[in-house]
């Protein structure tokens, strides 16, 4: 299945801004984070088709998945 993954802020460093990724059926939101070697503790918000989701959410063909890091400085 094909899922569009969009990364934000410093998650883009050494990765990409937006990419269509071919993923096995049953892939979860958390597995995509792990595959991208992003530390789950650094993830602030995940949105699937503009709605919030959790790591255990199973992705579907055609989904748009956005991953935002925690930005903490002031």
């Amino acid at each position: 299945m094909l899922v569009t993954v969009k990364l934000f802020a410093f998650f883009r460093e050494g990765r990409f801004i937006k990419e269509d990724r071919e993923l096995p059926e049953g892939t979860t939101a958390g597995q995509v984070v792990d595959d991208l070697q992003i530390d789950r503790e650094e993830v602030g918000v995940m949105m699937l088709n503009s709605r919030h989701c959790q790591f255990d959410r199973i992705l579907q063909d055609g989904d748009a998945y956005a991953i935002f890091p925690v930005i903490g400085g002031g």
Binding site: F8, G44, F68, V70, G72, G74
Partner: protein, 221 residues
């Protein structure tokens, strides 16, 4: 001099008077807080409450507008208070050399988030919502920043920070601070003048490195 001071804002007199009557509380007077304070006093905000328990240190020199070799070792809230008074001697300022409390937002029309910890932001947002005071959120890291408004029907801070317990000291570029602080000041101005803004129901994700700006809509509760 008073009317002439803000004449080039180009706002009508009623709006300018609304800003003059407003009280803005700034929590954290370093990078974002200091910059936003400077913009808001020039805009014509009449009263400020400034809160920060910390002193300026050498590593603040890259991005904190009122951090200079002369202010190193001095309290941020006290220094910013003095600098705002230099820009407009007519402005009313209270400052608190301590961590924020309910007293820091007492009688404020809105609050500026100049904090740098998830835990503190969650706590501040909760206090603000209890009192129906909007919190203009901003945060920065490296080339990246975000800005949006947290209020009772759009609890942005919970969305952004509920999943985290990490609390590192991020690297921040001065351009990122200036951009996000300017946007916080703009959101503050619009809120006080009752002008609608998309960031009252979401947030803007800013990427200065790739010149990429995304507006994210917050889900309604």
């Amino acid at each position: 001099m008073e009317a002439e001071r803000t004449i080039r804002n180009g706002l009508d007199l009623t709006d300018q008077d609304t800003l003059q009557q407003a009280t803005v509380s700034i929590i954290g007077c370093g990078g974002l807080g200091g910059r936003t304070a400077e913009l808001l006093v020039r805009l014509g905000i009449g009263s400020f409450i400034l809160t920060d328990p910390d002193i300026f240190t050498t590593s603040n020199l890259n991005r904190q507008i009122f951090c200079t070799p002369e202010t190193l070792g001095l309290n941020k809230a006290e220094i910013v208070a003095g600098e705002l008074q230099k820009i407009n001697p007519e402005v009313t300022i209270r400052f608190h050399v301590q961590a924020f409390s309910k007293e820091s937002i007492k009688n404020a029309n809105l609050v500026i988030d100049g904090l740098d910890s998830a835990k503190d932001r969650l706590q501040l947002a909760k206090i603000c919502r209890t009192r129906s005071i909007p919190l203009i959120h901003g945060a920065v890291k490296q080339w990246y920043g975000q800005v949006g408004v947290d209020h009772q029907t759009s609890p942005l801070i919970d969305t952004l920070y509920s999943n985290t317990e990490t609390n590192s000291t991020p690297n921040v570029l001065p351009m990122t601070v200036a951009l996000i602080a300017a946007m916080q000041a703009a959101e503050a101005c619009k809120y006080l003048l009752q002008k609608e803004s998309p960031l009252q129901n979401g947030w803007l994700q800013c990427d200065l490195k790739n010149c990429d700006y995304d507006q994210i809509l917050q889900e309604k509760i």
